[in-house]
């Protein structure tokens, strides 16, 4: 589960027409082509009745995202989109931090157990993947609703509050944080921890100075695969949070649904993609700095 750039490429093994061919086909068909469609759509005109597009180049979609036109026809910067972006980033950031706080100790604790116990615990962590995320979110709706289990044991009704969104997102993404951190913690040489204690370090110092720096690649990987999907999260904010405050994921969904503006939806998706790419680049650069 290590997300490290492949530094040495041997064309004979990894190039097209080799054993990697299925990967290329999958990548092109399922990632490349849809991506191209989205990028192209974002530069086209809205379809006549809202659905689809008219094949004519225009920057209207981006103009709609960034500017608003008042009744007099004057254009001014539109801050509502930026607000939504900001809100989405804050949500994804908070969820990532909660997942880190819960995930790091959990992963380290699992890695310190006996091998047989480790296998059982990791299987338990992955159990939620067996059930569709939508079904699991509906289950949370029942738990958090008025008269639901949490309400019955004294908790306030959390459904359709941003608390419900946080709970749902943390629940959904926690395994993605635990697994890569566990993968690197599991490789930790136990004698290195013993050496740290032997040199007089307290448990806390061993954690901060030795363990966390040594599992940092797992932590970076965990941050990337939690933060990025959390940024575009749609299911939990709409079902659990009641869509009370607009997020970028819901906004994009609306453009293809109720608002019937595919080019604007595509433009928003392209912007989200750019942001994600920037974040990834930033973390990758940090990784390389650490590695050298």
């Amino acid at each position: 589960m290590k997300l490290r750039p492949i530094t040495q490429r041997e064309p004979g093994i990894y190039g097209p027409g080799s054993v990697a061919l299925p990967a290329y086909v999958t990548g092109i068909l399922l990632v490349g082509l849809p991506l191209i469609v989205v990028i192209v759509f974002s530069f086209l005109q809205r379809g006549e009745f809202g659905s689809g597009v008219i094949h004519k180049f225009t920057l209207d979609a981006y103009r709609t995202v960034f500017f608003e036109t008042d009744l007099m026809g004057n254009q001014s910067l539109n801050f509502s989109f930026l607000k939504i972006i900001f809100r989405s980033i804050m949500l994804a950031f908070t969820v990532t931090v909660i997942c880190l706080i819960v995930g790091i100790p959990t992963a380290i604790w699992i890695a310190l157990q006996k091998k047989s116990t480790q296998r059982i615990l990791i299987a338990l962590v992955t159990i939620p993947f067996w059930v569709n995320v939508l079904a699991r979110t509906y289950a949370w709706m029942l738990l958090l609703a008025d008269g639901g289990l949490f309400n019955q044991i004294g908790a306030p009704v959390l459904l359709y509050t941003s608390w419900a969104t946080f709970i749902g997102l943390t629940y959904a993404f926690l395994p993605f944080m635990v697994l890569p951190i566990y993968a690197s913690a599991e490789k930790l040489d136990k004698s290195i921890l013993e050496a740290a204690f032997d040199l007089g370090a307290s448990g806390w110092r061993v954690l901060i100075r030795i363990v966390i720096p040594m599992i940092r690649f797992g932590i970076f990987a965990g941050i990337a695969i939690v933060f990025i999907p959390a940024l575009g999260a749609y299911v939990q904010p709409s079902l659990l949070g009641g869509n009370k405050s607009m997020l970028i994921g819901s906004l994009i969904n609306d453009q293809f649904g109720e608002s019937r503006n595919w080019p604007v939806g595509s433009a928003l998706a392209v912007l989200l993609l750019l942001m994600t790419a920037l974040i990834l680049l930033a973390t990758r650069r940090r990784k390389l700095e650490f590695a050298s």
């Binding site: 040489d189 290195i192 013993e194 032997d198 007089g200 370090a201 307290s202």
Partner: protein, 356 residues
């Protein structure tokens, strides 16, 4: 360091530890081990794998919980303290250097855990780096160094803490022969320079001989014998020790009137310290036997195998009763010895040991 002598003696008292192996059987890793190590000594814990020597080392460090007995250091009981509170430090077999820190940072880590002034930390890092001759590599990461250099770094890191006892867990096992030899000299030099007690674990008898002021031989969780390398080699206390340290031939028979008879051999003029016994066991090192004239004769033997070892000949002989005898003899006899030939065997009676 002179004034520290005496109050940093390490006393190991009736230490026992057992655990269950994967099949559920009880294994005694340590079985009532008592050992007294005076301050400043270089003691080697020697034995085959699984004999308890590493368990003993880890018990002193605090990584193993002991079932019974206690460990005192300079009169203070330390076996109840957690590892990070014990005034001992370990050099691990795998070196266990922190991969994300430079050599200097690795060494400083241990000092930063104490409340030591920053300049003092820097000075002490410089001192130990000089001691192990790594000053130039202070800013290297462990991955950028050879095995021997990592070994020195691990040694420096442990010594920087000025431990009362330095524990070394087979630290040379991963090095090649040549490097191992030169590190043995380095360890002796560093031991002399620091005056610290060294407790060194190994399964390599030659290394034990080369390094130890004393050697403690372990087998199956029990301490077999403690003594200087000379004592252990020349007067092994048991058949196990005799076989584990160097090669030897065991002769079983009857001793009376300073004459041994048994296993097809007859040895006269035995030393006074060999006791009369109807079922005696004698230990003879290969170099105590010879095929050259001049020593006490033992009888006729047949040559089964001859190996030329450069400075000597190693021969496997069979007595008339079929008992095998190992001999190390002068290389000059090479041309005169043939397999199957019958020759006379001689022995130096001063080098014969007796075991109970």
């Amino acid at each position: 360091m002179e004034q520290e002598q005496g109050w940093a003696d390490l006393q190991i008292n009736a230490l026992s530890k057992s655990f269950r192996d994967p099949k559920g059987a009880q294994v005694h890793a340590l079985d009532g081990v008592s050992l007294s190590i005076p301050a400043g000594e270089f003691i080697v814990l020697l034995g085959p794998s699984g004999c308890g020597k590493t368990t003993l080392l880890r018990s002193i460090a605090g990584f193993e919980k002991i079932d019974s007995g206690h460990i005192n250091l300079g009169g203070n009981r330390i076996d109840l303290l957690p590892p990070h509170k014990r005034p001992v430090n370990t050099v691990f077999q795998s070196y266990a250097l922190f991969p994300h820190m430079s050599v200097a940072q690795n060494i400083a880590f241990g000092l930063e855990n104490e409340k030591i002034d920053k300049n003092e930390v820097k000075a002490r890092v410089g001192q130990v780096l000089e001691l192990v001759k790594l000053t130039e590599l202070a800013d290297r990461k462990p991955s950028q160094m050879s095995g021997g250099q990592q070994q020195r770094a691990a040694l420096a890191r442990a010594l920087a803490k000025k431990p009362k006892v330095l524990l070394l867990d087979e630290p040379l096992a991963a090095l090649d022969l040549k490097l191992r030899k030169s590190m043995q000299f380095e360890l002796k030099r560093i031991h002399r320079a620091t005056g610290t007690t060294f407790v060194f674990v190994t399964h390599d008898q030659n290394e034990a001989m080369a390094l130890g002021d004393r050697i403690a031989v372990f087998n199956q969780g029990k301490l077999q014998q403690v003594g200087t390398p000379f004592e252990i080699y020349t007067a092994p206390a048991s058949e196990f020790v005799a076989n584990f340290i160097g090669e030897s031939t065991l002769l079983q028979g009857k001793i009376s009137g300073q004459i041994f008879e048994g296993d097809g051999l007859r040895i006269t003029n035995l030393n006074q310290d060999i006791n009369a016994n109807a079922s005696a066991k004698l230990i003879v090192r290969p170099e105590a036997f010879t095929l050259m004239q001049g020593q006490t004769s033992c009888g006729k033997v047949e040559i089964k195998e001859v190996i030329f070892a450069g400075d000597s000949l190693e021969a496997l002989l069979v007595t008339q009763s079929g008992h095998e005898v190992k001999v190390k003899t002068g290389a000059s006899l090479l041309s005169q010895l043939n397999v199957g030939q019958s020759v006379e065997l001689f022995v130096d009676v001063n080098q014969i040991g007796q075991i109970a």
